[in-house]
């Protein structure tokens, strides 16, 4: 009997697609601690993205430009609507808002050095502007956030542009977090908080509550800075058509639209993965709002959230954006999650490429930390050079694609240059499914 039963074939152990190992580990963690998981970064789940789009390039019906020889412009001017001093950038790839506090001082300096070397802008974050950051950034955008941590009118006047942050892609509708490990003496002083506490940032601005108020708030910022600075409004991608329309109505010079792949220093995992929409789905409604108001290219659109290379830049611009912003990719260029630190990532219970506990302040790369020893690992000159190299590569890659499409400026790329690989991407980006003329929701199959 026992011999017979031994011969019965056994099914292989089968893992559930629904209850996969990651899901089950989170259930066990939640059961053990009683509190939600907090982490940094953006959405990690697979999402419809720029990889689902392709450029058609030129052939018989389109005329390409000669690579390396014929001019393909990359510059962009931001803030042409009302500001007396618009910003002129050499590349449409900008550095997204990241705070001193979330990032170490040397990391912020590296961002400034790298961006300035290629003629683009950096952006402050929650907690205000540091002199180092101002000093190393030729063009610095000053974020005006709900918490107003470190906000003061002197820094407002020192900035080259002001970004009113309504929300961000990783957590639209949520405020920031900075846990006690990173609230050092300097960070606490800048934010006017007790040292070492777990900081909660408010999710709404304290002195305005709706689009009509925002209009008055923008007018106040313009009055204080004598109408010199471009004023951006940053929103997390949720209802892009209406948010962009309301930002324009409120008087924005520039709208920044951040998809759910955009990173955060720290927030709840459930927030990052389940609130907001991917940037691919957000660009066309945003551009539509601008076009319906007759403001496309008059109010500039910056998009962010998962921009990784020149192809992503070119696709974002072809869909109608004027510029893009990078955060996570810039940190990787500085050295975040680098495999040469694998042994140290293992000690933290993770692996290079997956490390996202930025809020704990123990980043072996010295970037998302306030630990004085760890941050020494960032050499701002070398890291800044790596970022500059990376930004140059992205710009050149975008030019390669634009020339192949016969465009003498990145801004001449258009939806007509694109097709989609999936029905979902086709519907979201409103470009035809490859090999067809079908755009779900727009044309009949």
């Amino acid at each position: 009997m026992s011999d017979q039963s031994h011969k019965i074939p056994q099914t292989e152990p089968r893992f559930s697609a629904t209850f996969d190992t990651s899901t089950m580990s989170e259930i066990r963690r939640a059961a053990a601690t009683g509190i939600y998981d907090i982490r940094g970064g953006g959405a990690k789940r697979k999402l419809p993205h720029f990889d689902d789009l392709l450029f058609l390039g030129a052939s018989v019906s389109r005329y390409p430009l000669e690579g390396y020889r014929e001019k393909c412009g990359t510059d962009v001017v931001l803030g042409t609507r009302f500001a007396k001093k618009p910003i002129h950038l050499k590349t449409p790839v900008t550095i997204a808002g990241m705070s001193f506090g979330a990032l170490s001082g040397p990391a912020k300096e590296s961002l400034g050095r790298g961006a300035s070397a290629v003629g683009t802008s950096t952006t402050t974050g929650d907690g205000g502007m540091t002199p180092e950051e101002r000093g190393h950034s030729t063009t610095l955008v000053y974020q005006y956030l709900p918490s107003r941590y470190g906000m003061n009118p002197d820094d407002l006047r020192k900035a080259d542009a002001i970004e009113v942050v309504v929300g961000q892609g990783a957590k639209p509708g949520g405020g920031g977090m900075l846990l006690g490990q990173k609230i050092t003496k300097r960070v606490a002083k800048m934010r006017c908080l007790p040292e070492g506490i777990d900081q909660r940032s408010s999710c709404r601005h304290p002195d305005w509550t709706g689009p009509d108020d925002l209009e008055i708030k923008i007018a106040e910022l313009r009055e204080i800075t004598d109408w010199e600075k471009p004023i951006y409004v940053k929103v997390g991608a949720t209802r892009p058509y209406f948010d962009v329309a309301l930002a324009v109505k409120a008087g924005a010079d520039v709208v920044v639209l951040d998809g759910m792949q955009g990173g955060t220093a720290a927030t709840q995992e459930v927030f990052i993965e389940h609130v907001g929409i991917p940037i691919l789905a957000a660009i066309r409604p945003a551009v539509q709002a601008l076009q319906d108001m007759g403001m496309h290219r008059k109010v500039q659109l910056i998009v962010s959230g998962g921009i990784r290379n020149g192809a992503d830049v070119a696709k974002a611009l072809a869909l109608g954006a004027d510029a893009v912003a990078i955060g996570t990719a810039a940190l990787v260029a500085l050295g975040d999650n680098d495999p040469h630190l694998e042994e140290e990532y293992k000690k933290l219970g993770t692996t290079a490429g997956a490390y996202d506990d930025w809020h704990e302040g123990r980043d072996p790369a010295g970037i998302t930390t306030q630990d004085p020893e760890l941050m020494k690992r960032v050499d701002p000159v070398q890291a800044g050079r790596r970022l500059a190299n990376y930004l140059s590569v992205m710009t050149m890659e975008a030019q390669v694609i634009a020339r192949a499409c016969g465009k003498s400026h990145l801004h001449n790329l258009e939806p007509e240059d694109l097709v989609a690989l999936t029905v979902e991407a086709s519907a979201m980006a409103k470009v035809p499914l490859a090999g067809t003329t079908w755009i779900p929701g727009v044309t009949k199959y």
Partner: protein
């Protein structure tokens, strides 16, 4: 003191604010009068000189916003966000104030003779605010530092999620917000209160008629047992 008068009926606000942002050496010590404000928003915002500005009537949103050094007197009532993010100086509202009065103010003194609306002193970061009347609900929400003196009553949720600010209330408090509790007023706090009463024209009010509220500091670190309060 040299006095200059602007009439908002005749001169655009932009020109008046531009003048008020002029070189401090030419503005310091001057007295400016703004007539016919008629509830305009953003009057006298972003001042950074030791100048005295008198607004002869009601002002709209953000009157004297982000003030530095200047003394601004409003001979009327104000809209939302009066003296928001003030860094220094003195703002005196002789009438009533709407919502978010003194929001995120870092320094200086804001005096409101009448009542203030919702969220007075929200996210206060070090300034002093004295309200002669009552304040609305959710005042001193997430107030980080500084002092709020209320001679009248306070609405619901006073001091919700408060950090290190001090709240002195003479009248009734409808309810306290999460992590806000009554404190014992020691000599140091009493001295602060007496000084603020004196500087705001309430020197005759008995400091012992006030109660002090501040942070219980139980929400300073994330803890599962506090989950309901976050």
């Amino acid at each position: 003191m040299e006095t200059l008068t602007f009439d908002l009926d005749k001169k655009p606000l932009r020109e008046i604010n531009q003048f008020l942002h002029g070189d401090a050496s030419t503005l310091n010590g001057k007295s400016i009068v703004i007539e016919n404000p008629n509830g305009a928003h953003n009057i006298a915002v972003g001042l950074k000189a030791d100048v005295e500005v008198t607004i002869k009537g009601h002002a709209g949103y953000y009157a004297a916003g982000m003030n530095q050094l200047a003394k601004v007197v409003v001979e009327g009532s104000v809209g939302s966000g009066v003296a928001e993010n003030m860094m220094s100086g003195h703002v005196h509202v002789k009438g009533f104030a709407s919502n978010a009065a003194g929001a995120t103010a870092n320094g200086g003194l804001l005096v409101i003779d009448g009542d203030a609306g919702l969220r007075c002193a929200i996210a206060l970061k070090g300034a002093d605010i004295v309200v002669g009347g009552s304040v609305g609900s959710f005042s001193a929400f997430m107030a980080q530092a500084g002092n709020l003196v209320i001679l009248g009553d306070a609405g619901e949720g006073l001091g919700d999620s408060i950090y290190e600010a001090r709240l002195f209330v003479r009248g009734k408090v409808k309810s306290l917000g999460a992590d806000c509790e009554e404190k014992v007023m020691g000599p140091e706090e009493r001295k602060i209160l007496v000084d603020l009463l004196s500087r705001s024209g309430h020197g005759d009010v008995d400091p012992d008629s006030f109660k002090l509220y501040g942070s219980a500091r139980t929400l300073y670190h994330f803890h599962v047992d506090n989950a309901g309060a976050y």
